[in-house]
Symmetry: C2
Subunit: 718 residues, 2 copies
C-alpha cells in the first residue's frame, strides 16, 4: 500500500530506519526525525545540530530571530524533564549561556547519557498547540491521532483517531471530531487556523506509518497551528520491536459459501449425540428435532445404533451424503480426532460447543484444532459456545431451549451468559429473530464472517453483536462498511473501561486507550454502539420496526406537557433535531388544539383532549412532508384511554404506510398499567412504544438516525 | 448576612456603588473594579489610570517591568474586541505608541464612546489562566463560579458553581470540581498553583456579592494562578437593574404543622363532590371511600343532600367540626370564592385539582387564589394537579385510580402525566409507596415543603421528585440538606437541555446555563440526580430495598465471564470502586471455584457450577468485613436454575441480616424468561435484581453510594 511520496524520499527513510535498527535503537533522534519529516513533507521549523557552543551561535545567527535550544541524546526521551530545553533565546551571549546550561542539566539528569549536541531551532510563531500522531493499535493496526496540544490533551484526553491511511477528507474530518473543535475555527475574534495545512500534517504522518509498518509510534507534539500554516515543533518516532504475524484471511466469496452452508444447512451431524437426558448431546438432538429442522439430522455415537429414533453412526465419515455442519457435543480432549474425521468427510463447518480450550488455559489444544481446521478447510464456530439458532431454517443447534419467533434480527454474543440473556429477552418481548450465534473463543469464525453473511441474508434486517474484542479490527471495519449501507449494525463492546494505562513511549500512545480507539473507529465504520446490554437488546428489537427517516426534522406531539419537556431533553441527548415549525404548520397544528395548548415543538395538545385531537395532530405530522419523524407523548386519561390511543395511532400510521408515506414514529406512554398492553399493541404495528420512560423511545429513534446517517440516507455522509 | 470584610471597606464599596447607580450605569469601569478588589482583598496587579500619554509613560515607569495598556470607557465592555488592549509594553517609546493606537482603535470601534483614559497595569507573570466569577441565578440567587480560563472555558464549558457565600473549604473544593482539575496540581513537571490563594479569590468574590446583592455579576477573568499566588488580571462588575422581590417563607415548624394535617388528616371535605359518574368530584369521592380512608369524608355540593351515601353540605362552612383538607373538584372560576369559605372555616390545606390557572395563561386568577390563601393561612397544593395519595392513611384524594401498596417511597411530580407514569410503574412493579403527590402549578406548596415533611415522616425512607423548576432554590437546598443525612432524595430535573443562551454581560453569566448551575448545586445538596424518568422510578423502587454501604469495596461474583466484563464497565461508569482483593481473600475465593476460574475481581466462578459454588462465594462475600457491597452475575444453566439461585441468594443474605451483617447486594440475571420470576423473588427479599441488563443493578448501587457519601456515611463528606 505505497503512498504518494516519491520513491527516492521513501528510500532515504528506509535507509535511515535500517541504520537506526542496526544500532539497536527504537527511538529516533530529533535530527533523524527532521530528515523523515522533510522526506514526507511534514512541516517543521528550520533547525540544525550544534556539536559545540560556537556551532550553536553560528546556527542561531543563520536561522535569525529567536531560537529554541534542545538537548540531543538517544538516551533522553523527555527533554523537558531533563532541563534540556530553553525557549526564546536570541543573540550570541544568550545562545552561549543556554547551550552550557542545557548540557549541564542533561548531564546531571542522566550522567551516562550520550550527548550528541544541542539542536538549534527556529522559534515557531504563536498559535494553537495541537498534537498529531500515529500508533500501532493491537486490534486496528496503524491508527492516526489528532488532539488538542499541551498538557490539556493529557488531562482532558480530547483526541480522535482514524485508521491509517487516511484520505485528505478523513484527515480534515478529524479537526471537527474533538471536543474543542471550535477553537480551531477561531473563538472571540481569534483567527481560524489553516485547516488544510493541519489536515495535511495528519495525512503525511498517516502516509509515513503506512509506508513503514515498522514505525510503531509517531508524535508531532506540539504542532503549532496558525492562520499561516501548521508547524511541528517537535517530532518523535519510535520503531517497533516486535514482528506482526499476518492473520489468515478468507475472501468474501469463500466466507459466503461456507456461511451459507452453516446458516442454511441441508444436513447436520451431531458428534456425541446421546439418548441420555441431561447430556449436551441429548439436548442438541432434542432441540434440532423439536425445533422442526426440515433437513437431515445424523447422530454420531460409537456406542449406539439409534438415538431419539434416528440411525446413529460410529463415525461422521460413515454418514451418507454431503453434510453441511458437524455439531460437537463431546469433551474437549476428543475434539481434535473427531475434527480430523470431519475434515476428511469434507464437512465445511464445525460447531464446537465444548469448553476446555483457551478459556481454561488449554491454548495448545485450541491451537491444535485451529491447525486441523485450516488443514482441511473446515471453518470452526467456537469452541466454548452454546451453539447457534437459524430461525428461518427452524434450526436450533444448541443445548439451550428452542426459539421459534422468526423475524428480522440477527444476534451474536461472545459470551454464553449474554447469549442466554439474548434468548430470555427475545422470548419475553416476542422479538422476531433470524439467528442467534455464540462465538465463544472465536478460534476461527468471528464477527466479520457473520457480518458478511448477515449483510447478504435476506431474512436479516438488523444485526446486533456483543463483543469483548476483535481478532482483526480492519476485517471487521471492512465487513461493517459493506453491510451498514443496507442494514443497521449494533455493537455492544464490553470491556470499555478496563483499558487502563498502556505502556507507551509517546503521548499519542499514552492517550490511545483501547476504548478511545474502538469508539472512534467503530463510529467511522458506521456501527451503532450500544451503551449497555439492555440498550443493545432494545435497539435490536426496535430498529427493524422503524422505517428509515428521510430527513432531520423531528416533531414531538404530546398530551402531557411534562413528558414534552423530558422528551425534548432526550432529543438533545440523542443528537436529534427538534424541527423549527414554520408558521403555516404552526397554524395548522393550532387549529386542532385548545387555545392554551402550545404549538411550536413540542406540540402540546394538553391533557384532557379526546382521541380526535391525538388523531388530527398525528395525521398532520404524518401528512406534512417537512416532518420526518414523530415522537408521541401519551397521557392516560378517561377521555382517551390507552388502547384507544394505541388503536388510533396504529391505524393512522398504517393508513399512511398504505399510501407509501413511511416515517419513524416512537411513543412514550405515561399512565396506569394499561399502557403496557397499549405499548405491545403499538410495537406489533410498527410504532416503537414504551411505558414509564421518556428516554428509551427517543434513544431508539436516535440509534435509527445514527444508522441512517452512517448509511448515507440523510446526506452529509458518515 | 455580613461577611468578614471591615465595615470601613464595605462602606467605601457601598458609596462607590451608589455613585455608579446614580449615574445610571450598570457596568463598573476597571478603576472602579480595582477599588472594590482592594476593599475585598481580591489580588489584582498594580495599576493606574492614565488620562494622557505622558501620564501613561510615568505610570509605566513607576510600576516597572512590562505593562499592559487597556482602554477605559464605560461604553466599551469587550475591550479586546475593540482593539483596546496591548500586552507586554516596556519603555517610554512603546508605551507612547500603544497608548495612541488603543485610543484610535476604540474611537473607530465605538465613535460615541466616552473614553476616560487608558489603564496601565503591571504585566502578570505567566501561570495558568482561570476564571473566577459570580452570577445571580434566577433559581438559586448568588452563585460563585470557577473554571478554566481563556477561550477554553467558553468552548469546553469546564466550570463549576456553588451557592454564595462559600466557606474556605467549599471554595477549595471547587478547584477539584472541574474536568481539568489535574492541571492545577501540576502536570508533567509543572509546579502546582497556590491553591489557597486561588480559593481565597473565590471566597472574596463570594463575600462581595453576599454583602451587595445589587451586584448581578462579577468576572475575574483571567485570574493568573501560579505557585506564587493568584492575580486577577481583569475584573468586571455588573450591577443589577431589577429589584428582587422577597418570597414568602414559612418556618420549619409552620410547614410541619400544616403538612402533617395534609398528609395525616382526620377529616377531608370534597368541594364539588358529585353523584354523577365521569365527574372529577365523583371520582375523588369514590377513591376516598374505596381507598378505605378511616377519617371523615364530607361532600360539599349546594345541589345535593347526599353523595355516595354521605350527607352533603351546601358550603364547607356548614361542615361540622375541624376539617384538615379541602379537596377542590370545581371549575377554576369558582375556586376563589370557595377558597374564601375554606379560609373562614379555618381549614389549613386546599388541594386544588382544577386546571385553568397560570398554565392556561390565567395568571391573574392564580394570583387571586394565592392572595386568598395567604390572607387566611390556607396552604395550597396545586392548582392543576391529579391530587395526592397518602398510602398509610388509605387516602386517595385524586381522580386517578386508587393505589394501596403501602411502602417506604414518597414520590412527587410537577406534571400530571409523570404522576400517571409513577402510578403505573409503581403498580406494575409492586413498589411500596408512602405518598404520591402532584404539585402542578406550585402556586404555594412546593418541593421544599414536601421534603421537610417526608424527612420527618417515619413511613418514608426514600423521596423521589420530578421537577421542572424550583420556585426557591435556596429553600430546596436547605430542606434537602436537612433530609439527606436521614434518607435519600432522588430528583429528576426536567428541562435539562433547554437552557440555551441567557442574555449575559459577563463570561460567567454566559456560562451559567440553568442546568450547569442546577447540576452542581443539587449535587452539593446531596441529592441523587436521576438521568431520566425510568431511572428515577427504578431508584425510588430499589434504594429503600438496599441497606447503606459501610465502605467503598465492591466485589463482583459472576457465573458468566461475559457479565463480569459488562458489570465491571458499569462499576466504573457509576463511580464505584472494584475492590483490590488482598491475597488471603483471593486464596479463600479460589478454594471454591474451578482452577480455570478467575479469582481477583470479578470473581469468575465459571458457567457450569452447581448452587454450592454460588452459595459458598456469596457467603464469603457477606462474611468478610473488608467487602462492603456485592454485585452478582448469574448465568442460567441446568445445573443452577434461576429460582435455585434466587432462593439460595435470598437465604444467605437473610441469614447474615439476622446476624446483623447487612451489605447492599445487587444482581444481574442472564437467562431465559424464568429469570424474571427469580428477580421478583430476590427484590422482595432485599436483593435488587434485574433480568437482561448488567447496567441497571450497578446504576442503583451507584445511586445508593452517592447518597451514602452525601449523607456522610462513608467519610469524605459531600
Amino acid at each position: 500500500m505505497a503512498t504518494t511520496v516519491e520513491t527516492q524520499e521513501r528510500e532515504r527513510v528506509r535507509a535511515l530506519l535500517g541504520r537506526v535498527r542496526s544500532e539497536g535503537r527504537a527511538a529516533l533522534t530529533a535530527p533523524e526525525g527532521k530528515i523523515i519529516a522533510d522526506a514526507y513533507g511534514i512541516t517543521v521549523p528550520g533547525e540544525g545540530l550544534a556539536r559545540d557552543v560556537d556551532e550553536a551561535v553560528a546556527l542561531a545567527d543563520r536561522l535569525g530571530g529567536s531560537v529554541v535550544l534542545k538537548i540531543v541524546s538517544p538516551d533522553i526521551l523527555h527533554k523537558t524533564d531533563a532541563g534540556g530545553v530553553v525557549v526564546g533565546v536570541s543573540g550570541a551571549q544568550e545562545v552561549r549561556a543556554a547551550f552550557c546550561s542545557i548540557v549541564k542539566n542533561a548531564k546531571a539528569y542522566a550522567p551516562d547519557a550520550r550527548i550528541e549536541g544541542v539542536q538549534v531551532q527556529q522559534l515557531v510563531p504563536p498559535g494553537t498547540e495541537v498534537i498529531v500522531g500515529a500508533v500501532t493499535d493491537p486490534t486496528f493496526g496503524k491508527v492516526v491521532a489528532f488532539g488538542l496540544g499541551g498538557v490539556l490533551v493529557e488531562v482532558l484526553k480530547d483526541i480522535t483517531f482514524r485508521l491509517a491511511p487516511v484520505t485528505a477528507d478523513e484527515a480534515s474530518s478529524m479537526l471537527d471530531s474533538i471536543g474543542a473543535a471550535e477553537i480551531l475555527k477561531g473563538v472571540r475574534g481569534a483567527p481560524a487556523v489553516d485547516r488544510w495545512a493541519l489536515a495535511e500534517q495528519i495525512r503525511r504522518v498517516s502516509d509515513l506509518v503506512t509506508d513503514f509498518p515498522e514505525i510503531a509510534e509517531v508524535d508531532l507534539n506540539p504542532v503549532i497551528a496558525s492562520p499561516d500554516g501548521a508547524v511541528a515543533a517537535d517530532i518523535r518516532i519510535l520503531l517497533s520491536t516486535e514482528e506482526v504475524k499476518p492473520r489468515r484471511r478468507y475472501s468474501r466469496e469463500e466466507i459466503l459459501v461456507s456461511m451459507r452452508r452453516l446458516m442454511e444447512p441441508r444436513s447436520v451431524a451431531v458428534i456425541g449425540a446421546s439418548n441420555e437426558q441431561g447430556k449436551i448431546g441429548n439436548s442438541v438432538m432434542r432441540n434440532l428435532i423439536d425445533g422442526g429442522f426440515a433437513g437431515q439430522i445424523h447422530p454420531v455415537n460409537p456406542r449406539a445404533d439409534d438415538i431419539l429414533g434416528r440411525k446413529a453412526y460410529k463415525s461422521v465419515t460413515d454418514v451418507p451424503g454431503e453434510v453441511d455442519v458437524a455439531v460437537f457435543a463431546i469433551p474437549a480432549k476428543f475434539v481434535a480426532s473427531a475434527l480430523q474425521e470431519v475434515g476428511r468427510k469434507g464437512i465445511p463447518n464445525a460447531v464446537l460447543i465444548p469448553s476446555g480450550f483457551a478459556e481454561t488455559g488449554e491454548q495448545a489444544l485450541q491451537d491444535e484444532i485451529v491447525a486441523i481446521g485450516e488443514q482441511y478447510g473446515v471453518r470452526l464456530l467456537g469452541p466454548n459456545i452454546y451453539g447457534y439458532y437459524s430461525t428461518w431454517q427452524d434450526l436450533c443447534a444448541t443445548f439451550c431451549t428452542p426459539y421459534d419467533v422468526k423475524g428480522p434480527v440477527a444476534l451474536t454474543s461472545q459470551s454464553g451468559g449474554i447469549g442466554m440473556a439474548i434468548l430470555g429477552f427475545a422470548r419475553s418481548t416476542k422479538t422476531g429473530v433470524s439467528a442467534i450465534v455464540g462465538l465463544g473463543n472465536k478460534s476461527d469464525i468471528d464477527e466479520d464472517d457473520l457480518l458478511t453473511w448477515f449483510g447478504e441474508d435476506p431474512h436479516t434486517e438488523c444485526i446486533a453483536m456483543h463483543l469483548e474484542d476483535l481478532k482483526d479490527g480492519r476485517a471487521f471495519v471492512e465487513a461493517a462498511r459493506a453491510t451498514v449501507p443496507r442494514k443497521p449494525v449494533v455493537v455492544l463492546k464490553a470491556g470499555r473501561t478496563s483499558a487502563g494505562a498502556r505502556a507507551a513511549g509517546s503521548h499519542t500512545g499514552a492517550l490511545a486507550g483501547d476504548d478511545a480507539v474502538y469508539d472512534d473507529i467503530l463510529r467511522q465504520a458506521g456501527v451503532i454502539r450500544a451503551p449497555g446490554l439492555n440498550d443493545m437488546l432494545e435497539y435490536a428489537r426496535a430498529l427493524p420496526v422503524l422505517p428509515a427517516p428521510k430527513g432531520d426534522n423531528v416533531v414531538i406531539i404530546t398530551g402531557a406537557g411534562g413528558s414534552g419537556v423530558l422528551l425534548s431533553d432526550a432529543i438533545v441527548d440523542n443528537g436529534l433535531s427538534l424541527m423549527e415549525i414554520p408558521p403555516d404548520l404552526d397554524t395548522a397544528f393550532k387549529a386542532f388544539i385548545p387555545p392554551f395548548g402550545a404549538a411550536g415543538n413540542p406540540v402540546d395538545i394538553t391533557g384532557g383532549e379526546p382521541p380526535s385531537t391525538y388523531e388530527a395532530t398525528i395525521r398532520l405530522g404524518m401528512e406534512d412532508p417537512r416532518i420526518h419523524a414523530l415522537v408521541l407523548g401519551y397521557w392516560h386519561t378517561i377521555v382517551t384511554p390507552p388502547m384507544v390511543f394505541a388503536e388510533l395511532t396504529a391505524r393512522v400510521v398504517e393508513e399512511f404506510r398504505a399510501r407509501g408515506i413511511e416515517k419513524p414514529v416512537v411513543a412514550s406512554l405515561a399512565g396506569d398499567t394499561e399502557v403496557e398492553e397499549a405499548c405491545a399493541y403499538l410495537f406489533e404495528r410498527g410504532v416503537v412504544a414504551y411505558p414509564y420512560t421518556t428516554e428509551r423511545p427517543v434513544a431508539v429513534l436516535g440509534a435509527k438516525y445514527r444508522w441512517a446517517r452512517a448509511a448515507g440516507l440523510l446526506g452529509g455522509g458518515r
